[in-house]
Every structure is written in C-alpha cells, then in structure tokens.
Amino acid sequence: MRGIKFLAKRLVYSVFVLVGLSILIFTIARVMPGHPARMALGARAPEWAVERLREEMHLNEPLYVQYYYWVNDALHGDLGMSLVTRRSVANDIKEFFPASLELALYAGIFMGIIGIILGTISGWYSNTWVDNLVRMISYIGIITPSFVWAIFFVLIFGYLLALFPTMGRLTPGVGPPPSITGMVTLDALITGHFAAFFDALKHLLLPAISLALGPLSQEARITRSSLVDNAKKDYVASERSCGIPERTIMFKYLLKPSFIPTISIYGLDFAAILGNAFLIELIFNWPGLSRYGMNAMLQKDLNAMIAVILVFGLIFIIVNIIVDLIVGYLDPRIRLGVERAQ
C-alpha cells in the first residue's frame, strides 16, 4: 500500500516536471533564431504561402496564446504537424520511437550483461592482472565516444570484412513482419518471421554495441568498485570467519548490495542512450526518434521538437521510477527509509 502511495506521489511530481519542461522547451523553441514557416516551405516559397502557414501554426499570436493552443491540442492527443515530415507528430513518434527503443533495449542488454559480468570479474580478481586488463578495457570504452565506435565498426565489419549491414533496420527485399510493437525483432518473433528476425538482428548488432560500449564500461567500473568496497565490510568478514565459501559469499551476499549503484547508473545510462543516439542513428541510417529530434531542431520543426523532448523527458521519469523501485527492492534500508519518511 505504501509502495503504491510512493508511486502515486512520484507520478504526480512527474506531471509537474513535464509541464515545466513543456513550458521551457516551448519558449526556447520559439525564441530561437530562424523562421519555421519559411524554413519549412523553402527560401523561394511565395510570401502568402508562408503567411498562411504562420497563421495555421498561430505563430503570429503572443507566446502564451500559442502555448494555450498547443496544450489544448495536446490534451486532445494532437501534437500538431511536423514541418519536416508533413505528418502528425503523434504518428511520427509512433513510427520512430519503437526503432529507438529497440536499439536502446539491445544496447541495454549488452550494457547490463557485459558490464556487470566484467565488473564482477574485475571485483572478484581485484588487483590482479585480470582486474588491470578489465580496467584498461573499461577506460578505453569510457573515453571513446559512441560515434567513434560506430565508425570503427562500420569500417571493420562493414567495409573490410563485409559481415554486417551498415544501414537501416531491414534489407530491402526482406519483408517486414506485421507491426505489433514497432520493434522489428520482437514483431518478427511474435509472428514467426524468422528471416526478418535474423536480418533485423544483423542490422541491430553494430549500432547497439556502439551505443553500449561507453555505458557498459562505466557499469563495469562501478560494479567493481562497489564489490571491492562491500567486500571490506564487517558482515563479509564475519561470513568468512564462519567458513562460508567465497563463491557463496560473492553470489549470495555480496552481489545484491553491490548492484545498487550499478542499477542507479544503468537506469540513467539507458535513458540517456535513447536521447543521445542521434549520431549512431545518423551513421547507421537508423530511422529512430533521436535522429528525428535532431533534424527537428536543425530545421526548427517546432511541434516535433517539443514532442520529442517531452517523450525523452517522460522516459527519464519512468526509468527513474523503475530504478527507485528496483533499488528499494534490493536494499531494504532504502525501502524502509522511504516508508518511515512517509
């Protein structure tokens, strides 16, 4: 019951955050230099056509009136038209978001599994050559931007070895599975289109690994540090003195509390890769929301810009709530602390 109250409270706070974010981004988008209607119709479009578009978009009204129109429409599910794709922004998000989410999920899987495994190995063998090797690999992963990895992988696995496709979600000619979730691999598995599944997986590997390498290195380092710190605590010494085998100490008593900082960072990283994937999406010609958002900003596509930022804001909020719940589950002290505070 208290958990539900906690969740409800966080959701109410989230509404305020989203409203604040919408006001902020709405204002910034409109005071940025450049004429959105002119940019949308082209430099040679007749003035009357530009003026008509300005009126359609209420751009001649004061800012607060424009915001009123936007909120009113948004509450009715209408996020406006995109000036770039010329479709409803809601449709665009429906089409592009699953592509980004699918990419982020695969990156998240790599990030979680490999990061934690590397961190655990490093912590288990702390201050040995294995730890040093993992540390070195992690540092390389952390300091190298994801787009550098992307270019590197394209050159190695696309250009030199020609093992993996370097653009898009599916090879033309491979029929896409019926869209259920919008995530091609998932839809292909659900509908039994295995050719499409493997083809989509081939397309996903390089961008997902490029995105994951930085954060997974960070997770590895955090897991390792946390493990090493916890291993020095009294309860571990006490377990050792009772003759409990090291393996049991590690997997039963040490890992769970050591994952708490990793999961907090993992949540933030996961939300961040969704928003920061635009370079990867650009390099791999991935039709995702992040690239869509970047183009919206470059071309002053007002409605698209606001909607994309709100979507990413919402993802951050949801991920943070999930992380809080998981951390609460893993660490009773935090859970009880929250309950006491309430």
Partner: protein
C-alpha cells in the same frame, strides 16, 4: 544441456545471423544517396532529392534536352498566342498513369491548380498563371496574367498528377476548403504519376524504393535499373562502405574532398562531374560603405585570384563569366571577365572615395559553412584584398542567419558568399532573381541593387515571347550588370559525384548532362550492367 549442445546452438544462431541473405533482390538495382527529407508530392517538394523522385515518378508536358531546351513529352505540340498571354498544349493520347487510368488535359489542369493553391514546392514558378482550362480531353491552355517568354522552361517543373486518384484520397476537413488537404497526406507516401518508376516502399527518414513501370509509354533502355533506391544518408563512412560493397551506384554531391579521394581509390569507382547551372557569387552590398562605391567594387574584382579558386579549391569548376552560369540557355559567352591584376585594382581603388581611409572601412564577408571549402575561398579573398590594402573580416555564418541578415538593407553584410542556381533553365531567371528589385530582402540578392533601369530591361526581356529576341536582350542585360560590378562572379560549380563507372553507364558523367536539378538522375537513361557488378564482387 551439455556444453557441446550449447556450443552447437550458439553456432547455429551466429550462422543464421550471418548467412541469411536478401530475399527477392533486384536484378539491376540502382542506389543513390541524398540529404533528407525527400517529398514525393510535386506540390510540396522542390529540393534536390525530391526533384530526382519527381523526374522518375511523374511526367511533364515538356522534357529538357541536354542544353535545357524544351522538347515534346506528354505534350506533342504547343503554341503561344501573339500577345504571349495564352499557351495551348496538345497532349498525346493513350498515356497511362500507374493505376491504368488515362492521362488527360483535366489532370494537367488539376496539377496546376493544386500546385498554385497549395503554394509550396515549385509553385513559385507559376505565379504568373491566372487560370488553366481544358477545352477538350487532349488540349490544355494556360492563361497568364502577363506575357512571360520563358514559360515553356518552367513547365519542366509541372509534374502531372492523377486527378481521380488524388481526389479519391482527399482528407476533409483540411486547409484548402472543399479540397480538404488536397491529397497531401496520401501523396506523402504514395505516388500518383505516370512516370517510368513506381513507389514500392517509402519508410520515411530511411529510403525511397521505386520499381520500374512495365507499362511506361516511352522506351526504357534494356539495362535501365529495375529497382531505384534513394537512401537518406550522406555520412561519408557509410557512403564509402556502401560504395566498396557495390551497394551504392552514385554517391551524393556533398561528400567532402577527402571522402571523394577515398572513394576514387575503390576499384571501378570514378568521380563524375557536370555543370548543373549553379554559380558562386560574392554578392556586394551596393548601398553600404565601402562596397557602395563602384570603383571600390571594381578594385576587388581585379584583385581577386579566380585562378586559385578553380585550380586549388573548387577543382574542376570554371571561372564564371558574368552573372549567368555558362551552361544556362541565354548565357552570353562573350561578356567581359575579370582576372587578377593588381595594377588595375590599385588604379580603381585610387578613384574610390574610400581610398586613404581604408582602415576605417573593413569589408565584412559572411560565408556559409557548407560546403566546407567556402572557408578557403573566404581566406583567399581576405589575403588577396590585403595585397591592395583592403581590410577584410570573414564571418562563418549559418545559412539560417544569412537569410535573416539579408532580409533588411541595414543588416545585410558587405559581402555574402552564396551559390545560386536558376529557378528555370534560362538566363532571365538568374538575372531577375539575382538583381531585380522584387528579390531584394531575399537570400538571392545581397546587392540591394534597386535599379529601375535594370528592372525595366529584365521585365521587357521576360515578356518577349520570341526566344532569339529574348536571348539577345539577356545578353545586353548581362553586360549592363558587369559594368555595374555588383558581384564577384567567382565560378560555375562543377557538381561532383563518385559513381560505379565499371558497371554503370551514367549519361551525365560522359558529358550528356541536363542543366536542371534532378533530371540527370532519370533512371530510364541510366544503364546498370549486373554481370560486371558480379565480377567486381568476386
């Protein structure tokens, strides 16, 4: 599960991932890459990639030849009234849209009405059209508000849409009254044309895939691509990878010099170039000190090192000869051309009212960061002007900001470095848009010429229906402009593309380029030899 079983399972998965190939691949695929977005609605798009899509999906009344002259296409004949106000076209019977319905005069009228009502895309070319009528099934007449000699040349941009198909897919309500959205939502992802290619797949933001129209009414060469894919990326690494894997036949024109050099090293890949009508100008503000002084402007014109620009920076381009790109019909090849001569530059400078106080009047040059080589031109300009004591301040300016600055006389810089191509393939287009009083405050004119004599001359020329007479008038206007020296005519731009010369026959690359954006990418004239491609892949 035993270890051996696990290893087998993993191997199978990896094998599956790596081995599954492409189902239903085309025999002669043709792929090009572009900056995105691409619009396939002829009443919406007007950028490069959209123009390429239109040329392949739609037909026009007239089709340009390699010199940009109009030739019969859907229209088999035409005539203009003596006053130049009515243009009548007789259509070929039996041309079919992709859905099998016949293309008639009603469709042409509908296409013009739709384009001018929506007002986007190439609508700006048809501002002089008062109304269109279709007196019979195969005759269409355009009535103009005033005589307009180059009207034929603008018709290369009137792409004919299938009226019945569009009307059946209109969404109401919409911004166009009874016409609802005028079919804009439908035409965002579907075509309504009669052209040599048909839309097969169009995942927005990714690619446009077209297949050959088997019932096209004009001959299509046997080696023409059966699939035509336009890909939405210009990322150099991706382009290089696709070229090396023979997954891209022609690369975009925005690849940096380094990337072009790398592409050229790939076996079978060559750099093809052609002049597409674009000219690079240094537009000099004629109402702002010190560029308001004609002697000051002429001094700069004599001091500039044009040769270095075309030999070292924009290699392959040629020095411009006056205000009109030499590939454009109506360009006068005999007009005067400046070259670097410091003595003449100094002589002009001494006649300028700013001579002796040059330090008080630095010249501000705004240059756009794309293409990147613009910076080299700006630096060269700065250094050459230093030779005669003129101080230059170069400012890297985003395109959007240049447009805003050029919107008022006060905020326009002394010089703006801009590429301009004609709206339609005639000298009159460039002359009017570059120097006419109606185009001040737009990105096409930083000169603020506001010259009534010029306005009268160009208006008279554009009203002249007789082509030869009109071209003679263009020649006089070009000389008049050169005398005023409102711009530095830097170079006619060579459009460069890396392409798979080993297995692709591309007419534009072997000198048969059409000086109109998009037309050099008409798939039906391109040949792809799949056996040669297979050889290269071995």
């Amino acid at each position: 599960m035993s270890k051996i079983m696990k290893i087998l399972l993993i191997s199978l998965c990896i094998g599956g991932i790596l081995s599954l190939g492409v189902a239903g691949a085309a025999e002669r695929p043709f792929r090009t890459n572009w900056s995105w977005p691409t619009y396939i609605d002829p009443a919406v798009g007007s950028d490069f990639s959209s123009s390429v899509a239109f040329v392949n999906l739609y037909d026009t009344l007239l089709y340009p030849d390699v010199k940009g002259n109009p030739q019969p296409h859907v229209a088999k004949s035409w005539k203009a009234s003596a006053d130049g106000l009515t243009w009548t076209f007789h259509l070929r019977p039996g041309i079919k849209f992709h859905d099998g319905t016949e293309l008639t005069a009603e469709d042409v009228k509908f296409s013009m009405d739709r384009l001018t009502t929506i007002g986007e895309g190439y609508a700006y070319l048809f501002g002089k059209v008062a109304n269109t009528e279709a007196p019979d099934k195969y005759t269409v007449a355009f009535h103009l508000k005033e005589s307009f000699g180059p009207f034929l040349a603008t018709l290369f941009r009137l792409y004919i849409v299938n009226k019945d198909l569009v009307m059946a897919n209109i969404k109401r309500p919409g911004p166009y009254g009874d016409m609802g959205d005028y079919g804009k939502q439908y035409l965002l992802t579907h075509d309504a044309g009669s052209g040599p290619y048909v839309v097969k797949e169009f995942p927005l933001e990714e690619y446009l895939l077209m297949v050959q129209n088997p019932n096209y009414w004009q001959p299509i060469n046997l080696n023409a691509p059966d699939e035509y894919k336009m890909i939405g990326t210009c990322e150099p690494v991706t382009v290089r990878t696709m070229m090396s894997r023979r997954e891209l036949e022609i690369a975009d024109q925005w690849q940096p010099v380094e990337s072009l050099k790398a592409l050229e090293k790939i076996e079978g890949v060559e750099i093809g170039g052609f002049f597409s009508g674009s000219e690079h100008y240094y537009m000099m503000h004629t109402k702002k000190p010190p560029t308001d002084d004609i002697h000051f402007r002429k001094a700069m014109a004599w001091a500039m090192d044009y040769k270095t620009v075309v030999d070292k920076i924009y290699v392959g381009s040629v020095q411009a000869r006056g205000p009109v790109n030499q590939t454009i019909p109506g360009a006068d090849p005999t007009v005067f051309q400046y070259h670097r001569n410091l003595d003449k530059a100094m002589a002009e400078l001494k006649q300028s009212k700013y001579y002796g106080q040059l330090d008080k009047y630095p010249v501000v040059v705004d240059w756009v960061s794309i293409p990147a080589d613009n910076e080299k031109v700006a630096l060269l300009f700065m250094s050459t002007m230093a030779d005669i004591g003129i101080e230059v301040e170069i400012v890297k300016t985003p395109w959007g900001s240049i447009i805003e600055e050029m919107a008022t006389e006060e905020t326009s810089p002394n010089i703006a470095g801009v590429f301009v191509a004609p709206h339609y393939p005639e000298a009159g287009s460039l002359l009017a848009s570059r120097y006419g009083s109606k185009s001040v405050a737009t990105w096409e004119q930083n000169e603020w010429l506001l010259d009534p004599k010029f306005d009268a001359m160009i208006e008279d020329a554009l009203k002249t229906v007789d082509r030869e007479e009109r071209f003679a008038k263009y020649g006089k206007i070009q000389r008049y402009i050169i005398d005023l020296c409102p711009s530095l005519f830097l170079f006619d731009q060579l459009e460069k593309h890396a392409y798979q010369a080993a297995y692709t026959d591309w007419p534009a690359a072997r000198g048969e380029a059409i000086p109109i954006m998009g037309y050099n990418f008409a798939g039906r004239f391109i040949k792809v030899y799949s056996d040669k491609r297979t050889e290269l892949l071995k």
